[in-house]
Structures are given as structure tokens and as C-alpha cells.
């Protein structure tokens, strides 16, 4: 049986249930690399040029860790998911770059997703990927349909139950632990809602973001993330703020940020990787909008390998203090 390795990085968080269903339907076994550790990051960083962004270094590290564990590694290229939207060049060159920096890697399975080339082309590409496992086009078609359904179910689960991608994946496999302990509201630490914006590979990789979601829970904050919002709501926010979307994953930043700014969150935290071109434009758009609106505090945390944990914690503490004091003050005025 063929074993397909999937690095726990970049697009994994959005699409893993879909990919897994597809390959398993075709009779393959799927392995995922273990969660990021300092070793993963160090191994990835050692292979690429210094100015590669943090998420790509993490991705390479995960690929390296899969080398001995699988016969194929799946690295899709998501070029465009909507008409006239584009993705960052690092996503487009990912299979080639991986081949260059991880020469010992097993065969890389690629597929390019580009909606601009039409559906017919997409189906052909899916078939070409499936042919690695079977010559029967019907079987590939069934696998693709099942995979798409798994993706829709996964999205629904996150949206309806307000789960993060890791939580939803655990729910699918039946291992979801109990949610964070909800402490009763105290005058010292009021209950707040914090909107977290950014790409999934930053928001849910606990190693590189210093467990930001856990930390926010400790501040008695309810955390809402882009995946918990309905697709059309986010799209409407993008259109309102930016007009036509340009970047493939613009919804996660501009869409969610725009939505949180208008919908009763107590604060918004943006997370971006140092040196990220698209994010430097998109986060700035939300920052400016927040400054103009003056209703919801916004803070952006920039992550790279040299980001100190202390710096992140100090900023997070100060941000939450600011929100708590605002809330207490608001209450005092009402009374």
C-alpha cells in the first residue's frame, strides 16, 4: 500500500480532511508529520535561504521529518480559488522548492488548483493526480466527490460549532477534549471576545505563535477565528473594504478583520509572519480601518524565528489589560 505524507504546515489546516479522504478512498495510507517543535523549525531553516518566511521554513522542516515515513509527499499548488485572485509566489513554487532543498524527499505528488483555467482543466488535473493510484477514472471521480463532501462537512463543523481547525479535526476523529474551562466573570477579569485574524498556518501552529489561543483563554477571552465565520459574510466584508479581492487567502485577514470590526468583538489581534508581502498590505488595511473607526482596539503581532516569547507575552498582557480596563470603565459609566 502506498503511504502519502502530508506536512502539518501551510494549507494543511484548511484542507487536511479533504486530502485525507481523497487518498484513502484511492487505497493509500495517509501520514501527517507531528506538530511543530523547535527541531522542525531548525531543520527547515537550515535548508532554505535566510530570508524565506517563517511558515515556509516550518513547511520544509515538516517535509524533512516525513522523508523516512512515506512513499509520496503531497504538495498541492493553490494558485487561484476565485476569478482574478492570486497567491503568493512561495505557494506557487512550493513543490519545486521542496525538491531543490529536500533532495532526499520521495516522489512529490502535485496538483495545481487554478480556477481561472476552467472546471474542465481542474477535473483533468484531479484525474492526473488520482492516476498515481488507479487507472479507473470513475474511482477518481468518486474519490474527488467524497473529498469535496468531507471538506464541506469540515467547514460546516467549524462554522456551526465555532471550532478551530485542530478542534474540528479532533472532533472528526472523535478525540475532541473538553473545551476551555469557562470561569465565571469576575470584576478583575471580565469576559471578552477577541477576534483573531491571520492565516491558519500561523493561528493554529502553537509552536510558532506561542500558544496564543491558550493564553487568550487564560485571560477569560472567547476567541473567534476566520474559520468560524460563514463564507459569504467574509466575502461581503472583503468586497466592502477592499473592493475585489486580489489575494487567494484575503478572506482570512481582510474579510474576517472587517467582519470583527463591525460585530461586537472587544478587540482584534492580527498575526502575520515577518516579511510576508500580502499580509503587510492586508493587515495594514485592517489597522487603518480600526484606527479610523476608533471602536475596536487592534494589535498586530509579527512572528519570525527570532521573535522573543517575552515580547509576545508582554504585548498580549498589555492588550488584554487595555481591553479589561475599557470594559470596566464602560460599566462604571453605565452604573
Amino acid at each position: 500500500m502506498t503511504t502519502v505524507g502530508i506536512p502539518r504546515a501551510l494549507l494543511y489546516y484548511q484542507y487536511y480532511p479533504m486530502w485525507k479522504t481523497f487518498f484513502e478512498y484511492l487505497g493509500a495510507e495517509v501520514v501527517v508529520s507531528p506538530p511543530t517543535t523547535r527541531k522542525t523549525l531548525a531543520e527547515g531553516a537550515a535548508r532554505v535561504v535566510a530570508d524565506t518566511c517563517l511558515p515556509v521554513k516550518v513547511f520544509v522542516g515538516h517535509t524533512v521529518s516525513l522523508v523516512e515515513k512515506c512513499d509520496r509527499i503531497f504538495i498541492p499548488v493553490v494558485r487561484s480559488l476565485k476569478s482574478k485572485t492570486y497567491n503568493c509566489s512561495k505557494f506557487l513554487g512550493l513543490p519545486d522548492m521542496t525538491r531543490a532543498v529536500v533532495p532526499e524527499a520521495p516522489l512529490i505528488l502535485e496538483i495545481e488548483i487554478n480556477i481561472n483555467l476552467g472546471k474542465r482543466r481542474l477535473y483533468q488535473d484531479i484525474y492526473r493526480l488520482g492516476r498515481q493510484f488507479t487507472w479507473n477514472p470513475l474511482k477518481v471521480r468518486e474519490a474527488a466527490t467524497a473529498a469535496w463532501q468531507a471538506f464541506l462537512d469540515y467547514r460546516e463543523l467549524m462554522y456551526h460549532r465555532e471550532l478551530t481547525p485542530p478542534q474540528a479535526m479532533e472532533e472528526i476523529t472523535g478525540k475532541l477534549p473538553a473545551g476551555p474551562e469557562i470561569t465565571p466573570e469576575s470584576p478583575r477579569v471580565p469576559r471578552t471576545t477577541i477576534g483573531l485574524i491571520g492565516h491558519a498556518y500561523l493561528l493554529y501552529d502553537e509552536h510558532i505563535n506561542y500558544q496564543i489561543i491558550n493564553r487568550l483563554h487564560q485571560y477569560n477571552a472567547m476567541v473567534v477565528t476566520p474559520e468560524m465565520l460563514a463564507g459569504d459574510t467574509i466575502e461581503a466584508s472583503v468586497n466592502k473594504l477592499a473592493g475585489q479581492a486580489y489575494w487567494t487567502y484575503e478572506e482570512e485577514v481582510v474579510g474576517a478583520g472587517g467582519h470583527f470590526l463591525e460585530n461586537n468583538t472587544d478587540g482584534i489581534i492580527g498575526i502575520m509572519a515577518f516579511g510576508c508581502g500580502p499580509d503587510s498590505l492586508m493587515m495594514d488595511m485592517i489597522h487603518r480601518q480600526a484606527t479610523r473607526q476608533k471602536t475596536t482596539p487592534f494589535m498586530c503581532l509579527t512572528l519570525e524565528e527570532h521573535t522573543s516569547e517575552t515580547g509576545v507575552i508582554t504585548r498580549l498582557e498589555a492588550f488584554m489589560d487595555m481591553i479589561h480596563r475599557r470594559k470596566q470603565r464602560g460599566k462604571a459609566i453605565c452604573v
Binding site: H207, K294, P297, T307, T314, A318, R326
Partner: protein
């Protein structure tokens, strides 16, 4: 008499401030940390004790600054607060109508935007320390003058020279170049102050609305040349509070007062005798998982008081302690 003690242990200096029941500053201490935060806190406690009137009762202690957790364990803090919040609280206490708080310390610089008496936005310098006290200190050292001399000389400048202030290394080569070209020292020094201010405004102050009244606090506010450069660059008055260098400690004391006022918490303060106790700080690399966290621990008489620095709570639960970074906020 009920009093509240705030301790701010920064990268370069350690500050202690004692407030009475009506939040008046009774006494304060300002000393160099010199890379030994435990000694600095103990020294500070000794000095503050000498200044104390009799019948003083410490009803609450709070620590802040980059060594806040360490200091908190040593003194038995009732509250451990980050320095961004404590500085804002202190500034608002003395200047309720403040709109902008500039704070420049030894290794970091911050900006807090306040509207209607409440902080609405803040920024802190990132990994780069250009535009902080250390940058000036380093240049003063290179010119073989004290930081006071640097300030006084810079103030006499008539035609400041433009220095590239983006980076300490480049600023230094630029200064050397300007010296070799024959520019006057005071003009170069004031140029340096202007560069620091430009750097601060372009980095920490990027995209922020700096409205008056503007408060400037932290150790660097001692430097009159920097104050002048801020006034010129912002084209408005910049207020330097009398106790600008201990504002973080004052803020911490104010916050612990506020907190204990609403509850009957009895202070955890371990007493001034702590200044004579021998503490031992050490660290080790945890080998339980590939993360290899560097765990720091503080012990006394062979008994571990607290540990931190790990990514999980494996080492942080030390029996008999109540304070560690992730629990403090609960």
C-alpha cells in the same frame, strides 16, 4: 500607615516607589540593575527601608518591568503587571487629560495612545533597540563622556548634523564619518538625539495619532536634548513628569492599591528581611521533548521557589508557590 510598594525591574535600572493611602509618593529608589536583578531588588528594598518613617505597613506589593516574574517571587508580589500598562496607569494618574504617552527606557520604547482617559492603542519597539536608552549610552561611552555630559553638550548645538539613526551600527559609522569631516561634537550629538527621535516616531509611532498633551517618561527623559528634539519634531510641548523615571513603579503601586481596595486580600509581601536572603537563580535545558526549552529556576536554601521558561507546564508547577507567568492572569 498603609502603604503600597511598586517595583519596576528593567533591563538597565531598577526602580522602587512607595505610595501612601492617598497615592502620594512617600519615597522612591532608582538604581542600576547591572545585569543582576535579584541583587538590585534586594538593594532597593534595603534603601527604601532606610527612608521609611516608623509605623509603616506594606499593604500591597506589585512588580513590573522585564524581570517582573523574578522580582515577584523574591518579594512575594500581590500583583505582577506588564510595564506597558503600569506606565499608562501612572501617567493617567498625574495627567488625567493626557492623550499620548511616550516612554523610552533602557532597551525598549513604547507609545500609548489615550483617548478620554483610557488607553486605546499602544506600540512597542520590536527586536531592534535603536532609538532606546542603550543606543545613547553606547554612543556616550564611545565618545568617552557621561550621558549627562552628552545631554548638556548637545543642548549647545547651533547647527545640528544629520545622522542616520535607523541602526546603532550605521549611526555610529555615520558619526565617525562626520567627526572625521570636522563637524563640531555638539552638533553631531544633537544630530544623534534628533536621529533617535525620528527613529522612534517612524518606528514605534508609525501610523499613530500623536495628540497633545504628550507625556514623555522613562529614563531617557532625563536627557534634555532628547526632550528638546521631541518638542521640535512634534512642534508641540512635551511634558516630562517630575518622577518620570519611576513612573512604572508608581503605576504598579497604584494598581496594587486599586486591587486590594476592592477586596480583603492580605499582602503576600515577604518583608524587608528578603533583602538579606540568599537566592540562587539557575537554568537548565529540558530534554523531555524536541523543543528543548530553557527553564529558569529560582531557589532558596536548596528549595525551588519558582520555575518558568518552558512551553508546557511540566516544570512550572512547584509545590507551595502561587505565582508563575501563566497563572498570574487568572
Amino acid at each position: 500607615m498603609r502603604t503600597y510598594l511598586g517595583i519596576d525591574v528593567g533591563s538597565v535600572t531598577t526602580k522602587l516607589a512607595l505610595l501612601d493611602e492617598s497615592d502620594e509618593l512617600i519615597s522612591y529608589v532608582y538604581l542600576l540593575t547591572q545585569g543582576r536583578p535579584i541583587d538590585a531588588v534586594q538593594q532597593g528594598l534595603r534603601e527604601i527601608k532606610e527612608q521609611l518613617p516608623p509605623d509603616v505597613d506594606i499593604s500591597g506589593v506589585a512588580t513590573t518591568g522585564s524581570a517582573r516574574y523574578l522580582a515577584g517571587v523574591i518579594v512575594g508580589a500581590d500583583l505582577v503587571k506588564n510595564e506597558i500598562t503600569t506606565h499608562a496607569v501612572a501617567a493617567l494618574h498625574y495627567y488625567p487629560d493626557v492623550q499620548t504617552i511616550i516612554e523610552i527606557g533602557g532597551q525598549d520604547s513604547k507609545l500609548t495612545v489615550v483617548r478620554d482617559g483610557i488607553a486605546i492603542d499602544f506600540a512597542m519597539n520590536t527586536v531592534c533597540a535603536a532609538g532606546t536608552g542603550s543606543f545613547l549610552d553606547h554612543q556616550a561611552l564611545r565618545l568617552d563622556m557621561s550621558i549627562q555630559e552628552l545631554s548638556q553638550q548637545a543642548l549647545t548645538s547651533q547647527a545640528p548634523v544629520r545622522i542616520a539613526g535607523r541602526c546603532t551600527v550605521f549611526a555610529e559609522s555615520d558619526m565617525v564619518h562626520k567627526q572625521q569631516m570636522g563637524y563640531r561634537v555638539e552638533d553631531i550629538l544633537y544630530g544623534l538625539c534628533q536621529a533617535l527621535v525620528r527613529n522612534y516616531l517612524g518606528n514605534v509611532g508609525l501610523g499613530k495619532e500623536l495628540e497633545s498633551p504628550i507625556i514623555f517618561q522613562g529614563g531617557v527623559a532625563f536627557n534634555e536634548a532628547i526632550v528638546r528634539a521631541f518638542r521640535e519634531e512634534l512642534d508641540t510641548d512635551v511634558i516630562v513628569p517630575i518622577h518620570h523615571e519611576v513612573m512604572g513603579a508608581i503605576g504598579a503601586a497604584l494598581m496594587v492599591h486599586e486591587e486590594t481596595a476592592t477586596s480583603d486580600i492580605i499582602s503576600q509581601f515577604k518583608g524587608f528581611e528578603q533583602s538579606e536572603v540568599k537566592y540562587r537563580a539557575s537554568s537548565f535545558e529540558c530534554k523531555a521533548c524536541p523543543n528543548r526549552c530553557e527553564v529558569a529556576e529560582i531557589s532558596h536554601d536548596g528549595q525551588t521557589l519558582a520555575r518558568w521558561g518552558g512551553r508546557c507546564d511540566m516544570w512550572e508547577r512547584v509545590p507551595g508557590t502561587q505565582l508563575h507567568p501563566s497563572e498570574e492572569s487568572k
